[in-house]
């Protein structure tokens, strides 16, 4: 690989691994294009935007359009303006967090930057915390509900498995917004669920579910259930069920066979499914906004409000950067699971 040192851009270097059977020049060129085109697109529209978010999280809020003072506009400008970077937005988050955990020593520090209002009434840090536990509980509930479904599908006669698979995927093709919206009509005090429960005499007074955490749990579990079922199904389907027979022949009770054989073997599916639910759920906006009411805090909603209602782009950028840092570990776990699945499929 001596020639890779010559090229500077990773995208160009990317293409230098020769395609397996390209003897011709044309083949080599198309081989390069296959890598370079999507590579450049993702660099420009996925990676560079993150750099910009980070940059803007370090700039000052301004009442203008766009509502921030540019830290620097080009690389030549960079050196001259390096002093203009401000940690203000992160200081706000720090004071907010210190206020939440009651870090009394931090109050004077926040006061010196006139940020004691964040210390006294934190609203960003609580949103992070509640997002993580709401997403965590929802992920656990989704796993609990999805596992029997996936297991049932994996044990179904092979002839109907494709149909079952299609039926799991189908709701995913209908709009997310519509599926969340459908729950409003079911969960509201005079909604269908309460009508049924009242009519059957199970309850006397309508349940208050809409605009509570319960509604958010239902919304997340419902919307993300296919994401949990599919990876579980694919690992359960591959399983060798004669192992269970062997265990039972040797006198192992079914429940203990499940925990000792089935569950460990389905672990890759469990990990992938949990990550596919947990990560987007932490940053979820639509579900808490429509089902959770005004008092539920979730970070996706906070970021949205900071950005659209308060028009504070630098602070919302800082919120996004911290959210990304929180999610980086689960994202890495997801990436590894994907890479391993890819290796196995080879």
């Amino acid at each position: 690989m001596a020639d890779t040192a010559v090229s500077s851009s990773p995208a160009v270097a990317a293409a230098q691994a020769a395609p397996v059977a390209s003897g011709t020049l044309l083949g080599a060129i198309t081989g390069r294009l296959v890598i370079v085109v999507p590579y450049l697109w993702l660099l420009v529209f996925f990676l560079v935007p993150f750099a910009i978010v980070f940059k803007i999280s370090l700039s000052q809020t301004a009442i203008a359009m766009p509502p921030y003072t540019p830290v620097f506009t080009g690389m030549s400008d960079f050196a001259g303006k390096i002093g203009d970077f401000t940690a203000d937005n992160y200081r706000i988050l720090y004071c907010d967090f210190a206020g939440l955990v009651g870090l009394s020593g931090a109050r004077a520090y926040c006061e010196s930057f006139a940020l004691d209002v964040f210390f006294d009434s934190p609203y960003i840090a609580p949103a992070y915390v509640s997002s993580i536990w709401i997403a965590g509980i929802s992920t656990f509930l989704a796993l609990l509900i999805a596992y029997p479904i996936a297991y049932g599908m994996a044990r179904a006669p092979a002839s109907i498995r494709p149909t079952l698979l299609m039926l799991v995927i189908l709701p995913f093709w209908t709009s997310f917004l519509i599926r969340v919206y459908a729950w409003i009509g079911i969960l509201k005090p005079e909604g269908l669920l309460n009508q049924v429960l009242l009519a059957t005499g199970i309850i006397d007074t309508p349940l208050v579910i809409l605009n509570t955490h319960t509604a958010i749990f239902i919304g997340i579990v419902y919307s993300y259930l296919p994401f949990m079922v599919l990876p579980l199904y694919s690992s359960l389907e591959k399983m060798d069920y004669s192992l269970i027979d062997a265990a039972q022949d040797l006198g192992c009770p079914p429940i203990s066979a499940f925990w000792k054989i089935t569950f460990p073997l389905s672990l890759p599916g469990v990990v992938a499914g949990c990550m596919l639910v947990f990560i987007p759920a932490v940053g979820e906006f639509v579900i808490p906004d429509l089902l959770g009411g005004s008092e539920t805090l979730m970070i996706g909603k906070t970021l949205w409000n900071e950005f659209n209602a308060n028009r504070d782009w630098p602070v919302s950028s800082a919120v996004a950067v911290i959210l990304l840092l929180i999610l980086i570990v689960p994202i890495m776990i997801f990436q590894n699971a994907q890479a391993r699945a890819q290796e196995q499929g080879r």
Binding site: F45, W173, I279, F285, S317, A320
Partner: protein, 272 residues
């Protein structure tokens, strides 16, 4: 015992599917409700569909959404297929880890982050927010979904077919179009459909990256939903579900027909 489909398996599947489908069914049923109250049945009526088609704002938004979906799905399918080829065919190239990271990360990235970062990019390079920027944003996240769908098909693809074609002197590009493409075409088609529905569906990223004059249908629906549940929105949602359902059914019927044809061809080949 095991090897059987137990009663527990059947019950959990039935309950699971009831949970998945009941809300959608109820939504569709109540779009035909005479009463303005969404949750009280007042008789069958299609009047909400009539008022829907007279709602110019919704119709305009639907047209914007369809155009954005069509363009973004098409470009995303090309880019996503290239990305899938790059990931499966080129196992060693510099920056491959970064590349596969950039393909997989958008699948789980919270939409608020993607939306915010793309908006800041468009502001930084001075692109006016509107139709063009939403389309760019949709291409970016949906190409990754296309890449995953096509990649899973490519991994089960029998490479010896390609090698045979090239041994017989077909150049790589011709081999791709005559051998590889027809085989992976079903995956590319479902990738396109997935990209189209994702675009049709997206609220958060569109809200960040769209501008005046390019309000998409989910944005319109969202702003009305916040004011309360109305039968007209139920009707709009039902139409969207119907469009998607028809698309999926056509695709699966076509797929089935192709499989039957293939099985027949194979039999004929064996007999001959």
């Amino acid at each position: 015992m095991s090897g059987n489909w137990t009663r527990f398996n059947i019950v959990s599947i039935v309950l699971g599917f009831a949970f998945l489908y009941l809300p959608i069914v109820l939504l569709v049923v109540f779009s035909f409700n005479e009463s303005r109250l969404v949750t009280v049945w007042g008789g069958f009526s299609t009047k909400w569909y009539v008022s829907l088609f007279n709602n110019q704002g919704l119709m305009d938004a639907a047209w914007v959404t369809i155009r954005v979906g069509f363009i973004s799905a098409t470009v995303a399918t090309v880019l996503g297929t290239l990305a899938a080829l790059a990931l499966t065919r080129y196992t060693r190239f510099r920056g491959r880890i970064l590349f596969s990271g950039m393909v997989f990360a958008p699948l789980v990235m919270p939409e608020v982050i993607t939306g915010l970062s793309l908006l800041l990019l468009f502001v930084a390079i001075g692109l006016d927010r509107g139709f063009f920027t939403v389309t760019l944003a949709h291409i970016t996240f949906s190409m990754c979904f296309v890449a995953v769908v096509v990649q899973s098909r490519l991994m089960t693809f029998d490479r010896s077919l390609e090698e045979a074609a090239m041994d017989l002197g077909a150049p790589p590009v011709k081999t791709f179009f005559q051998i590889t493409l027809p085989v992976i075409l079903p995956a590319i088609v479902s990738g396109w459909m997935l990209a189209f529905t994702l675009s049709l569906d997206d609220l958060v990223i569109a809200s960040f990256t769209s501008g005046p004059g390019a309000t998409t249908l989910p944005m319109k629906i969202y702003s009305q939903v916040r004011l309360g549940v109305t039968p007209e929105i139920n009707a709009a949602c039902t139409l969207l579900i119907a469009i998607v359902a028809v698309g999926v059914i056509i695709a699966s019927v076509a797929n089935k027909r192709r499989e039957v044809q293939r099985a027949r061809d194979e039999q004929a080949a064996q007999r001959g």
